[in-house]
Symmetry: C2
Subunit: 356 residues, 2 copies
């Protein structure tokens, strides 16, 4: 059962330590909103129309695997348990909105988890493409390949003046949303992050702590705010540049911290590593805060005991939904999950331990 494999996998190939600027940039994402002609948006469609949308898209999407040279999992949302949906949300492969059970919703997810296509969310079709590090162009190219393939088989709603028609006017035009996840402990520790968050709207950017993960993780999501009036290439370029500049800020902050306030932060990094290595109980919130410090310590060359890959696996495989699913028990108490999480984290750190 392929879905089970997808849910149990402890790695996401796009959430790793490879890619450009991977000392700061975790991953890049591009999402395209597309709709079929002459059918209402899902929010306004009746049951028969929702079925028709699915039936139109399904056979085309079924051919995507052959086109792109990798298998896709076809997942009917209403066949998933609540826990399975939770795991897919944790892995950022489906949206929270998509996970609300509505009829005729489909997800097509590529074997390498870099492409996720949602049918009958807000739009008929949402094409998501994720890639590691600062790689918006690469993510956009992959999304475009999917888009081109679909447009070759189906008529999509497109207006010469307006561009792609979408359920929400904010997506009108290119139908493109791009975002980047950054790890910004340096800007947090030097208290520069507020400044960046506050000034970003003037640059047409939104900078927010990544949802679903505590602020202690120091993950921030940067996305473009405007979709109208720019070409796709301009939008990608703008965001890529902005993310690169924030990454440069982050590096300067880290460098400053390596001179000033060094001792306190190094102590905190090592304590985090000590607690992760030995604790018998960890909440998800605490986990993220500790893991962020450890990752920062690895990036700064302070911690050499484990390889950076441990980070990506912990972020995926030590989460509530994942652990419940792996334990095949959705009724675990908070205390039980915290104990299982601590045990899992110790095992992961052991697995990624360096020699010597």
């Amino acid at each position: 059962m392929a879905v089970d494999e997808l849910l149990r996998s402890s790695r996401l190939s796009w959430f790793g330590t490879e890619g450009a600027d991977s000392d700061v940039v975790i991953s890049s994402r591009v999402r395209l909103a597309r709709n079929l002609v002459s059918l209402p948006f899902p929010g306004r469609a009746n049951l028969a129309q929702l079925a028709q949308i699915q039936e139109t898209l399904d056979p085309v999407l079924a051919g995507l695997g052959a086109e792109l040279g990798q298998p896709f999992d076809r997942i009917a949302l209403d066949e998933l348990t609540a826990l399975q949906r939770e795991v897919l949300i944790e892995k950022r492969l489906i949206s929270e909105k998509f996970a609300e059970v509505q009829p005729h919703r489909l997800a097509y997810i590529s074997a390498n988890t870099r492409i996720s296509i949602l049918v009958n969310e807000d739009d008929h079709l949402r094409i998501q493409s994720m890639s590691p590090g600062l790689s918006l162009t690469q993510a956009f190219e992959m999304a475009s390949r999917v888009d081109d393939y679909i447009e070759a088989h189906l008529d999509l709603a497109f207006d010469e003046t307006m561009g792609y028609l979408t359920a929400y006017p904010t997506n009108l035009g290119t139908g493109l949303r791009a975002s980047v996840i950054l790890h910004l402990p340096g800007l947090v520790y030097t208290r520069n992050i507020e400044n960046i968050v506050n000034t970003s709207p003037q640059l047409g950017l939104a900078v927010h702590p990544l949802e679903g993960i505590g602020e202690g993780a120091h993950f921030y999501k940067i996305s473009n705010q405007l979709t109208l009036g720019y070409s796709e290439a301009e939008m990608i370029e703008n965001l890529q540049t902005a993310a690169g500049e924030i990454a440069a800020h982050e590096r300067r902050a880290r460098k400053a911290l390596s001179y000033f306030g060094k001792d306190g932060i190094e102590d905190g990094i090592w304590r985090a590593f000590g607690i992760l290595s030995y604790a018998r109980s960890l909440t998800e919130q605490e986990l993220f805060a500790l893991v962020s410090r450890v990752r920062y310590g690895i990036d700064r060359g302070i911690i050499k005991e484990v390889t950076p890959d441990c980070y990506a696996e912990i972020i995926v495989a030590a989460r509530d939904g994942y652990l419940k699913y792996a334990a095949e028990n959705e009724n675990l108490s908070t205390g039980e999950i915290s104990a299982i999480r601590a045990s899992r984290v110790r095992a992961i750190l052991q697995k990624y331990r360096t020699q010597g």
Copy 2:
């Protein structure tokens, strides 16, 4: 220079993990107050008299090494630096009161650090004997051997009705004070310690957190309150029994904790071990709190990574005075000492690491 060796040594043979009931009882101590006839107590003596007291006692104490078969360090207090005095206080080999610089004070300390004799503190002579675990009889026998040897050479102030005459009436009679240091995390965690502290005066006992070390260390000192009206043997017997009973209480508390509230305490034990293993900065107060948890974890069979001996060495060799003396720099800042302490603790844990 023998004093230097004594100060630098990271072990105290009486503060270890051997001895009876050593899972709970750290050490036992007996102190005898003695005075020469026809000379005033030091607090009332003039300079010439203080010199006379020292000159009378010094040649007799010089023969003690041969008598007891181990060398003694003869330490003239006014030749010590403030830092050296601090280290001797930390090691409980001299009292804080004795460390106040007054002329003609001498300390004779045996090579195994189990006997410490102070000249011209409150009394002409204070004989202290320390031994590991619950071993008051053994400590008393050793103190008595010293006492017998001195009485064989000198006339001591003794009244047929009152017993030994002492500077403070509370020591009158036998001149004996006995005390035991216990490690009581179980009674602290189960909140039974207050009860024991509060009811102890009714049993003629004083139970207090050990001075000079934070309460987080869970060290308690139990001593007899009454010296008059009991024979030496009765006093020793009473305290030995009381300490044994408190140790039994402590074991029951630990057992209860191994069933109830197990998870939280185990997690705390492991976190303490993780922080001690990796922290880059530790205050003395935090150190004691963490070390107490680790020792408790070792005693409970939870931590098997290090042998119990690490505990005794950390308690001696990670203290402010000791570290400054070892670094030969009494002007280290608090931050510097905290960093050196953390480094020292890591080295000690490494040294006592078990195989496998």
